[in-house]
């Protein structure tokens, strides 16, 4: 297990993933804003939420990188294509399990069943986070693919 590689490259890969998601937002492809979603668990102020959410996202990304590093260690190889495969799996889990799960635990996220008593103002992601734009699944897969490939490439290069 390459602990130093995990520590450094996990951070880099997460930064890359976050950067791609932000680029997708800025170019009008998706409204999925993970730092905002994660940070509004703590505060309703979007600016403060993004700061807190970015930190949370880096930590979460680092946690996932541990899984990637462990998988590479178990398989005895770290390559860009293996990282890419894991990235696709990761993206699928994020879209079908992690993001939809937020509805049940996020204090400021409404659900598709929200009624008049709901004061949650954060829109629910819906199936495959499609509520945040029809390109959202593609963007998410692409960002996670890049995350996995960069981890495979960087950890394999050591």
């Amino acid at each position: 297990m390459d602990w130093a590689g995990w520590a450094v490259f996990g951070l880099l890969a997460t930064a890359l993933l976050t950067g791609l998601m932000i680029a997708a937002q800025l170019s009008g492809l998706s409204r999925l804003d993970l730092p905002l979603i994660l940070g509004t668990v703590i505060t309703p102020d979007p600016d403060r939420a993004r700061a807190a959410g970015s930190l949370i996202h880096l930590l979460v990304g680092q946690g996932f990188a541990l899984g990637y590093a462990a998988t590479f260690a178990l398989l005895g190889q770290a390559t860009w294509w293996l990282g890419g495969l894991l990235g696709v799996l990761h993206g699928a889990v994020a879209l079908t399990v992690l993001v939809p799960m937020l509805v049940g635990v996020h204090p400021r996220m409404a659900s598709e069943r929200a009624g008049p008593a709901s004061t949650s103002v954060l829109e629910p992601p819906g199936l495959l986070a499609l509520n945040y734009g029809t390109q959202t699944p593609l963007v998410t897969f692409a960002a996670h693919l890049a995350y996995g490939m960069s981890l495979g490439l960087l950890l394999g290069a050591r």
């Binding site: 659900s111 929200a114 008049p116 199936l127």
Partner: protein, 610 residues
């Protein structure tokens, strides 16, 4: 022939809505959301598009019909040969945290005088092709299935209902007939017994009554205002906070004409107007939800504000006509989608920035991100106000320089400068806004005002007037009692009058479409506001009472009205009309009106400026 539009009652759960006529027939319901596929579409799709009737077996006179006070529960009572028969019905809005279906319609027939013969006809059909379901009975439940969508119907006492077939039932004083329809979309059905469903309906009633108690007691004509606010809330899609313009598509603006549009979308303009209406009566949570939706939904298009969006802030699919749908009262086409989405409408920026400013005035300072967004909108106005636009009325012919749009652009910059006083902003940027605001004023006053007639005009160089200009007294562009404001109000009243209290929105027939549409109801409520704000309070009060008398028997309004027959026209119920009604009442309150009697027979309401 379907009943008049105003005969329909609205049942809703803030995720979707049904329309039910006085014969007990649900003729419109889209599932699982306002913009979903119709499962009952007879309103515009003919009998083959499905309906759900529950009522007397033989023709009977309606002797009472109305919403239970301060609730969304509708009651209709018929007099039959053997006694009265009452239908009580509602959709259940609050299902979060309970094992209840997200969409459920509860209907109960009761017969207090003696046994009454009734009938249930349940005929769900799905979508444009009006597909019949695969139906099966699972114990006491009828289940209708279209792939991942299922609708279940359960009755007590149990009736063996077959889709599309009338089933006779007898309602007795000791045994009401209750049915619950539940919908499952990409999830398992929840088999609900009718007692649980009825309890849920009653729980909802209590919550609506509590919701209504929060509404300002000092608002004049409170009963009508409360019904409008309830309607606005029922037309707000709770999961995202989107304000739906109306739950229907293609109810005609002229019978037999082509002016049939799909309103199952959310207009940022309507959200902004809704913010003002809800803030004005003390319903701040609803106003904040609209602002949250505005910010979220426009995110992908900033700094452009799209004309309209889907409930989740996406661009609508291209507009098209549903094949073989006859339309309401044989007025095709029935459209899905709305081509106005691609238009450039400058006025939207003014409405949105005004709403942001009002939020600040109400004690909700903008977050830094919100302010950056608003500042981006102001920049957009500064960049583009010199271009022609489609205007508030979304006319599909060529763009022109609409005076109302320019006024709203001026308002956008004015409000941005007011907000900027409390936020960090570069001096260069505010200098630019100030300069563009001044240039706009000069442009409007020179090119948009007809000195000879003493009125602002519909567009630069036009001799037409425009009822949208009735917002002038709200803008503080001129003092509300100035000659230019008075002249514009008088010109609109005299040139666009359709028989008091009705107004056309622009000279009839001047929109490039065949036929002449009805009078535009929100404009009449804007006239109430304009009169009240410019000191003509008595006229405003009289006009408002006259307008209240034109509501349907359930207190609901469509978008338009036929000036000759006084039947409602256009999509129904229309959020903009109800928001304008609330704003008019707020303006009357601010102007300090006296005692008023609700023209629909309500008890006198004590009025007075706070």
């Amino acid at each position: 022939m379907r009943p008049p539009i105003e005969d329909y009652g609205l049942l809703g759960d803030t995720r979707t809505a049904a329309l039910v006529d006085s014969d007990g027939s649900v003729d419109w319901l889209c599932i699982p959301r306002f913009d979903g596929l119709p499962v009952f579409g007879r309103l515009v799709g003919g009998a083959a598009a499905g309906s759900f009737r529950l009522g007397p077996r033989h023709p009977a006179e309606v002797v009472a019909r109305g919403y239970r006070p301060d609730t969304a529960t509708l009651e209709t009572t018929w007099r039959t040969d053997t006694g009265r028969l009452t239908l009580t019905e509602a959709m259940v809005a609050e299902v979060a945290g309970q094992l209840l279906p997200a969409t459920m319609l509860v209907r109960r027939l009761s017969a207090p005088d003696g046994p009454v013969d009734a009938v249930i006809t349940f005929d769900p059909r799905l979508g444009e092709r009006r597909r019949a379901p695969r139906a099966e009975h699972r114990g006491e439940v009828l289940v209708c299935i279209w792939g991942t969508l299922a609708v279940a119907l359960r009755t007590t006492p149990t009736a063996t209902v077959q889709p599309g077939q009338p089933t006779a039932v007898t309602v007795t004083p000791h045994q009401p007939f209750t049915c619950v329809m539940s919908v499952a979309h990409r999830e398992p059905l929840v088999y609900l017994d009718t007692d649980t469903a009825w309890d849920a309906l009653q729980g909802d009633e209590a919550r609506w009554q509590a919701w209504c108690r929060d509404i300002d007691d000092a608002i004049p004509y409170r009963e009508a205002v409360v019904r409008s606010l309830l309607t606005l809330r029922l037309l707000t899609y709770s999961p995202s906070g989107a304000p739906v313009a109306a739950p229907t598509t293609s109810l005609p603006e002229v019978l037999g004409g082509v002016r049939n549009w799909d309103y199952r979308f959310a207009w940022p303009r309507d959200a902004s107007i809704g913010i003002d209406a809800f803030l004005g009566v003390g319903k701040h949570d609803e106003a904040r939800a609209f602002m949250a939706w505005l910010l979220s939904a426009t995110r992908l298009d900033r700094p452009r504000i799209p004309v309209l969006l889907t409930l989740h802030g996406k661009h609508p699919r291209p507009e098209r006509e549903l094949a073989g749908w006859p339309g309401y009262a044989d007025s095709p086409p029935v459209r899905s989608g709305n081509a106005a989405a691609g238009q450039h409408q400058l006025d939207g920026y003014g409405w949105v920035l005004d709403a942001a400013w009002r939020m600040g005035q109400a004690g909700y300072p903008l977050y830094a991100e919100t302010w950056r967004t608003m500042a981006g909108f102001a920049d957009r106005v500064a960049d583009r106000w010199r271009e022609p636009d489609a205007g508030i009325w979304e006319v599909r012919s060529d763009t022109v320089h609409h005076v109302h749009s320019k006024l709203m652009a001026w308002l956008a910059l004015d409000r941005a400068l007011s907000i900027a006083a409390h936020h960090r902003m570069s001096a260069r940027r505010t200098r630019r806004w100030r300069a563009e605001r001044a240039a706009l004023r000069e442009d409007i006053e020179q090119r948009g005002f007809d000195e000879r007639r003493g009125t602002y005009t519909r567009s630069y160089g036009s001799s037409d007037t425009d009822a949208a200009l009735l917002v002038l007294p709200q803008l503080e562009f001129h003092p509300a009692d100035s000659a230019r404001v008075r002249g514009t109000i008088d010109a609109v009243t005299s040139e666009l009058g359709a028989g008091s209290p009705l107004l056309y929105r622009y000279p009839p027939g001047r929109d490039g479409l065949p036929g002449i549409e009805g009078a535009f109801l929100p404009c009449s409520f804007w006239l109430v506001q304009a009169l009240a704000r410019s000191g003509r309070v008595t006229e405003a009060g009289t006009l408002f009472r006259d307008l209240l008398a034109l509501a349907g028997s359930l207190g609901l309004y469509a978008e338009e009205m036929d000036p000759a027959t006084r039947h409602h026209l256009g999509n129904y119920p229309q959020a903009l009309t109800h928001a304008a009604l609330v704003q008019a009442a707020i303006a009357l309150r601010a102007a300090g009106t006296g005692q008023a009697v609700d023209p629909r027979g309500a008890a006198p309401i004590v009025e007075g400026a706070p």
